[in-house]
Every structure is written in structure tokens, then in C-alpha cells.
Amino acid sequence: MDRSIRELMNHLGLPRIIIILFFISICIMAVFLGLPTDMLTNQVLVRIGMNGVLVLAMVPAILSGTGPNFGLPLGVICGLLGTLISIEMNLTGFPGFFAAIIISIPFAVIVGWVYGLLLNKVKGSEMMIATYTGFSVVFLMSIGWIIMPFKSPEMVWPIGKGLRVTISLGERFAEVLNKLWHIDAIIPGFGELKIPTGLLVFFFILCTIVWLFLRSKSGLALKTAGDNPKFAIASGINVDNNRIIGTVLSTVLGAIGIIVYTQSYGFIQLYQAPLMVAFPAVAAILIGGASAQKAHVSHVILGVFLFQGLLTIALPVASSIMSEGNISEALRMIVQNGIILYALTKVIGGE
């Protein structure tokens, strides 16, 4: 018994244990402080669905051996582009939402393929190069947002050039998923439970697709290429191609992820907004139990729950303890980057 606990502790690692304990204590505090638990639960549910797909995008990247996809902004930009085109085509509701996804996928495939080729050239330094590729593309596209010939008055500045910084989706497809099969129940002793069923179902469907893919022939080849490239080569598996497939999948999921995110958030944010989008996603999957080399769909679900739950609940707890200031931002930075640093110390090789 004692040994199995110690083994579990070793497996989890100190930072993860701290985060889990912290999460539990914050939950307990929230209850004792008399915070509206029903509202918090509802918020957590929405944020799981909102961020889940972006976290899921890490899985194929990690498994194919390119490490956590710090170049997620690339996929996100493709998703934003799809959304913008969907609005330009004057689509609303579900057609608008799905059109955004369908339009963004070919962009994401091409971008992911080129990006995969790049990552194959820089094996061993993927994370750093991915980060800076993402950063620079965000600014390149910032120029793009100014000069692209979009016409829809919802999106462009009434005077001057270019697209607005934030574009409302209120008239388009804001919350289409959240409202789908929305469950609103009043539970005595708890309060009002609102379940964004459509959003969660969409997230779980994508999780299932990824899970099924990982059990297919090509999925297993991808996992093998990432797990042990030498073994893969000796088994006749083309490692470089599989790394590209992983990168493409990750980029496509990033594109879908941001569309899901924006429909729930209700606004598109352009320009520098996608700059740091990769870090919370990376942190979430790591908190869920993944490492820079191993990841599983279950890590996504657990990680996004813990990380988003922590952030959601910490904010009201902190502000009810301390009168002002946004402590949750500082907390997010510490938790998010702390877990990434921890994962980096576990990366083997490089030398």
C-alpha cells in the first residue's frame, strides 16, 4: 500500500501533486466562503468545452515526436481566417460555424504541412523554433489583417484600413454549440445547473475521433515514430512523414479549437491575441499527466478540467479574500509556466 502510494507520487511528480492539492483546497475554500457553487460549476463546464479542443491539438504533436506544439498560433490563425471568410460569405448559425471549420481545414493542412517540413529540419530544437515561428507568424498576419480585402462592415473599421481588433459574433454563430441541447436544471441544495451539452458533445466527439485514430494503422505508426524513431525506421515506418502528419493534425485541431473557442466567447480577437495561445494549452495537457513525449486523450480531459477549473475558481476565491487586484493572472502564469518547466526537466536527450 505504502509503496503503491509512493509510486503514484513519483508518477505524478511534485508540481502536479501541488496543483491538484491546490485545486482541491481552492474548491473547499470556495464552498466555505459561500461562493455560488452552481455558477462556478457552470463556468467551469463552459471553459472545459471552450479550451478542450485547443488542448486536444497537443496530442498528435506530442505523440509524433515533435513535442508540445508551441506553434499552435499557426493553426489558430487558420481558424480565424476560416471564421472571417464565413462571415464575409454572410453565413449565420450552424452553417456559419461549420463553414468556418470547413474553410479553415485546407488552410490548416497546407500550413501544417509546411510547418512539419520545417520541424523535420530542426529536430531536437522543435519547441523553441515552434514558439518563434508562431510568434513571428502572428505579427506577419497582423499586417495581413490590415491589408486583406475583407468588405463586411461588421469586420472592418468604419474609417481607416483593415479588420477590427475584436469582431462580435453575436449576429453570426456565437454560442451555437453552447446552446445546442442546452440543459437547464434546478437542483435543490445546489442551485441552477446549466450544461452546455452541444459544446461538450462536440469536444468529446473530437476526443473520440482522435482516440480512434490513435488505434488505427496510421495512428499506431505515428505513435511509433514519436516513441522510438529508430524502432520505427527498422519497422519500415517513415518517421519524417509521420511527424508531418502529426503536425498537420495538430494544426487542424488548433484551427477547429479556436473556432469552438470564439463561438463560445462570442468574439473574434485578431492581431496579437493569438500570440500566447499555445502556453495554456501546453500547460493543461501537462497538468493532465502528459509529458513532452507521451500524451493521451485522457490527459487532455483531466488537464483541461484541472487547469481551467483552477483558474475559474481561483479568481472569485482570491477576490473575496483580497479586496482588489487580479491575482488569478499571476497565478495562471506561475502554474502554467511552472508545469512547463517541470516537463522540460524531464525531457531526455537533446545532448
Binding site: K217, L220, D227, K230
Partner: protein, 533 residues
């Protein structure tokens, strides 16, 4: 003790994990003597040197028994640094040189001459200025001692390999107190003329009174340079000879000879010379670092067990790796007369060639995956087995996978908790069986298996060898087995090809004499027989 010896090692015993690797070794080296240390891989040479240099690996595994005397003083070397202080130096086989540095900087690496400046007086000696001038003159002197004409200010990166070796030596003799210099296979990477130069310099150094311990397997170099020769085999000194009292063939015999463990009655193993060729290698060249193959012509006969032997670093390992496409390869490979595309593992696997790598944990296994996945993965990817198919969509057929894995586990007697166990948790022998099971799942015509018994305990070794013999006899599978252990090759093979310096030295029958094996392994067979003729 006797002060006339620079180095005396007395009755050295060393045990690694209940495995005796040195058993009462004695060795004596006088000042100015060149003493050769001969032995096959695993004979205990490197362990002996690790003891001499106080390498951490020795202390981490429980130390050793016996005494080491330097100049008659009993010493207890705890670290390589102490060895350096005692005046023992090593010329490494792989160069410990920094290409971006000048020759002077390399010679003086971490032993720079320094002088005080204003700041270092205040803040400590690590801020002392380097005394370039004195460093350069020191380096010059060492280079002059070796008769090397190159400028001490030149960068190492542009130098030929031969010179690099000399800079290593210059570094050692630059240490003023150097008494004993160990050369670890110094000529392995040199051309013939470079090697000649090196041997000359060794003699020159010895004439200044430095004792030299010369580790090698090149018998002609030994006969040319050494004064005395100690031969190690299986951790024991089998002989210490004066050069004048011995010859190449005796040394070869002493190095290799051992009682042959024969698993199988000899009458069952006929020569396979007359069988038809299943695979032919023409001028095969493989650039595998450390195991380079430099042009091999070889026929593999149908239904035989072909052994590939030779010393480490000679290229035997490179052959199978090259054919499988794991390292850049040139030349021609024919399978049943059909020319195969090289550098493409897929072609090889799909043509019925199986491979069990010498690097079990690195290439052979997915350590964090289950036994069953390890067994079926290659067959699934290459032959579309073990899959459910619904149109273009595929899913792993776990039921089929499990049934097959259990069958294999039973057939090969893999000791495990079940097909779901991670291969990391298995013992070396059982891991090897999983690797073999994976190769067998492909139902290959030819099985390449490298170092099948490395790192496996004695009982499991026999099981693996029996298994290979059974596969060959019962299924008629052609097996090409590469091994550093001559004994195990001789126990089950029909023919044994010996590789030396990246080339085929010759093919022997397992029943040929120990002398022939020894000469071939040392690459002396042809030279020797030519002289005889």
C-alpha cells in the same frame, strides 16, 4: 616493493554483478618498456584500465581486490584526476580534442599556464591571465619531442586524423611527471603510414624512460613494437611472453583459444557450401559510425546458419544494419537473383527479411508499450495484419493481437505476467525473445540477428541459441547471426565469416583450428599464410 617497475598490478580481482570479469591478473611494466596487452573484446582489458585510472564505474560497483604499485609505492587511485597526479596518462581511442581550439589550447586543456594580473590578485586565481607565450613554448617542446612539424598555433579542426593522435600524445607528455602512458588501440583509426609514425614515436618515448602500456589486437604491431606481451582471456592472464620468445600464430592461438561449447552434435551440421545462394552481397559499404563496412562480397546459402564474427569496431555489426537500411549503404544486394533497393527498410521487410537488432533497448523495442504491441507492430504496418478494416478506416484487432501474442509467448517461452506487460519490465533474455517474436511474426525467409545473447544470463543464452537452431532445422529458416562471441558462433553455425577492418577476412568452418580463428580475427590470416608460402 620492487622499485624497478613503473607499474605493478598484483592479483587483481573484479566482480561485476556476480560476474567475474578479472580473476587474479598480474602485470608488470618497467620504465622504458613497451608492454602490449592483448585480448578479445570482453577479455577484461578495459576493466583493468578502469581500475588503473580509478574510474567511478569501478567504485560504483563495489571496488576491486588486489594491489596497484606505481614506482614501488602502493597506491589507491580513487579518481582519474589522482591517476593524472601519479603520472599515469591515457591516449584515448576516440579523440578528446576540441576542433575549434588551437593545438596549444588542446595540449594545455585545463592545465593552462597562467600569470597574475591586477584583478586576479583581488578576486582569485580563476581570473588569472593565460600565459599564451609560455603555453605555446611548452606545446612546441612536446611537439618537437614527437617530431611533429606543424605549427602549435594551428587549429585542430583542419588536421588529418594521424596528427590528432599525436596531439593527444603531446598532451600526455606535456604533463611533466608522466611515468606511464596507456595507448588504447591507437592505430585503429590511422592509415598504415600514420600508424608506422605512431609506433616510431612510441619507441622514441619509451627510450626517454616512460613506460608504455599498449592495448591492441594488431599482432604485427605487437611484434614490431612491444618488448613484452601479456595476453588476457576471460579475465585471466593466459600468458606473459617476451617478444623474442613468441610469434604471431602463437599469440593468435593464445588470444582466441578456448574450449568450444558445442550445443549440437557436429554431424548434424554439414557444410552449406554446396547449397544454392539465397542472398548475395556485392561490394557492400555501410557508414555506420564505429562499425564501418568497407566493401564486402558474401553469399548467404539457403537454409544455413551463417555466423558473422570479428572483433568489436571491425564492421561485423554494420552488415545487417546496412542491409536493413538503418545506415547509409552502397553496393548491391541480391535476393534470389533479384536486386534489392538499398537504404529502404520497407523493401527489405516486404521481401521477407527479418532483423533482430543488437541494440535491443534502443532499436529493438518500444519499451513503454505492451509485449503484444511490440510483437505485432511491424507485421501490422508492413503486411496489414491484425487489423479490422471498414473501408479506408482501420482499427487494431486487439483480439487477434492478443491470441497471436499468447501463442508466441508460449512458443518462445517468454516469462512474463501476460501479453499486456510493458517490455521495459522484462529481463534481458525475455526482451530478446520478444524481439525475435516480432521478427518471426513477419514470417521471414532470412533472419538477421545481431548479438542475440549480449547482456543475457547463461541459462537464457542457451535457450536463445537452441531456439535459433530449432528455427533453422524445423522451419528451414536461413539465419545470419552476428556475434562477438566466437564460442556461440561455433556452437550452432554452419559457416563463420570473419570480418576485419570492414572487409571479409575469410570464411571458416566451425571446426577449423583456434589458430586460424585467432589469425583471422586479428586480420593476420592472409599475411601469415602468404609468409608461410
Amino acid at each position: 616493493m620492487d622499485t624497478k617497475y613503473t607499474l605493478q598490478m598484483k592479483n587483481i580481482h573484479k566482480v561485476y554483478f556476480n560476474n567475474k570479469v578479472l580473476n587474479g591478473v598480474n602485470i608488470n611494466v618497467k620504465p622504458g618498456e613497451i608492454h602490449a596487452l592483448l585480448g578479445e573484446n570482453g577479455a577484461g582489458k578495459s576493466t583493468l584500465m578502469n581500475i588503473l585510472f580509478g574510474m567511478p564505474v569501478i567504485h560504483a560497483t563495489g571496488g576491486f581486490e588486489g594491489d596497484v604499485y606505481i614506482n614501488g609505492q602502493l597506491v589507491n587511485v580513487k579518481s582519474p584526476k589522482e591517476a593524472m597526479k601519479l603520472g599515469i596518462g591515457m591516449v584515448h581511442q576516440e579523440f578528446m580534442l576540441i576542433p575549434g581550439f588551437t593545438i596549444t589550447e588542446n595540449i594545455k586543456l585545463n592545465r593552462e599556464t597562467t600569470k597574475h594580473n591586477l584583478i586576479s590578485r583581488l578576486l582569485g586565481s580563476s581570473l588569472k591571465t593565460l600565459d599564451k607565450r609560455s603555453m605555446e613554448s611548452d606545446a612546441r617542446r612536446s611537439l618537437d619531442t614527437l617530431g611533429l612539424e606543424i605549427s602549435e598555433k594551428a587549429k585542430v579542426s583542419g588536421l588529418p586524423v594521424g596528427h590528432m593522435q599525436f596531439i593527444e600524445i603531446a598532451r600526455e607528455i606535456d604533463k611533466r611527471n608522466i611515468k606511464l602512458l596507456v595507448f588504447d588501440e591507437p592505430t585503429a583509426v590511422l592509415t598504415e603510414s600514420e600508424a608506422d609514425n605512431l609506433l616510431k614515436s612510441m619507441k622514441k618515448l619509451a627510450s626517454t624512460g616512460i613506460a608504455i602500456l599498449f592495448i591492441t589486437h594488431r599482432l604485427d604491431e605487437v611484434m614490431d613494437t612491444a618488448d613484452n606481451i601479456t595476453i588476457l582471456r576471460d579475465g585471466e592472464v593466459v600468458a606473459t611472453k617476451k617478444k623474442e620468445e613468441t610469434n604471431v600464430s602463437e599469440l593468435a592461438l593464445l588470444m582466441v583459444g578456448r574450449k568450444i561449447e558445442r550445443n549440437v552434435p557436429s554431424e548434424n551440421r554439414k557444410s552449406s557450401e554446396d547449397s544454392e545462394d539465397i542472398m548475395t552481397l556485392k561490394n557492400l559499404r555501410v557508414s555506420m559510425p564505429g562499425e564501418e563496412v568497407k566493401g564486402i562480397n558474401l553469399s548467404i546459402k539457403k537454409g544455413e546458419i551463417l555466423g558473422i564474427g570479428g572483433l568489436a569496431g571491425q564492421g561485423k555489426i554494420g552488415i545487417a544494419n546496412g542491409i536493413m537500411g538503418l545506415y547509409p549503404t552502397r553496393g548491391e544486394v541480391y535476393l534470389k537473383g533479384k536486386k534489392l533497393k538499398l537504404n529502404d527498410p520497407k523493401t527489405m521487410i516486404q521481401n521477407g527479411i527479418g532483423f533482430v537488432s543488437e541494440d535491443r533497448r534502443g532499436i529493438g523495442l518500444l519499451l513503454d508499450s505492451s509485449i503484444q504491441l511490440n510483437i505485432v507492430l511491424t507485421a501490422m504496418q508492413m503486411q496489414n495484419k491484425f487489423l479490422h478494416k471498414i473501408g479506408p478506416i482501420t482499427q487494431i484487432n486487439n483480439g487477434k493481437v492478443k491470441r497471436h501474442a499468447i501463442k508466441m509467448i508460449n512458443n518462445l517461452d517468454v516469462r512474463c505476467q501476460g501479453p499486456q506487460q510493458l517490455t521495459r519490465r522484462l529481463s534481458g533474455g525475455n526482451q530478446q525473445k520478444v524481439c525475435i517474436a516480432r521478427a518471426l511474426t513477419l514470417e521471414p525467409d532470412i533472419l538477421f540477428i545481431s548479438e542475440p545473447t549480449r547482456g543475457i544470463d547463461v541459462g537464457a543464452k542457451k535457450l536463445i541459441l537452441d531456439l535459433l537452431y530449432k528455427l533453422n532445422k524445423e522451419l528451414g529458416m536461413t539465419i545470419v547471426m552476428t556475434s562477438s562471441e566466437l564460442g556461440e558462433l561455433r556452437s550452432i553455425c554452419n559457416r563463420i565469416a570473419i570480418i576485419s577492418e570492414g572487409k571479409l577476412e575469410g570464411i571458416l568452418s566451425p571446426f577449423d583450428s583456434d589458430v586460424d580463428f585467432g589469425l583471422m580475427m586479428a586480420g593476420e590470416y592472409h599475411k601469415f599464410h602468404k609468409e608461410e608460402a
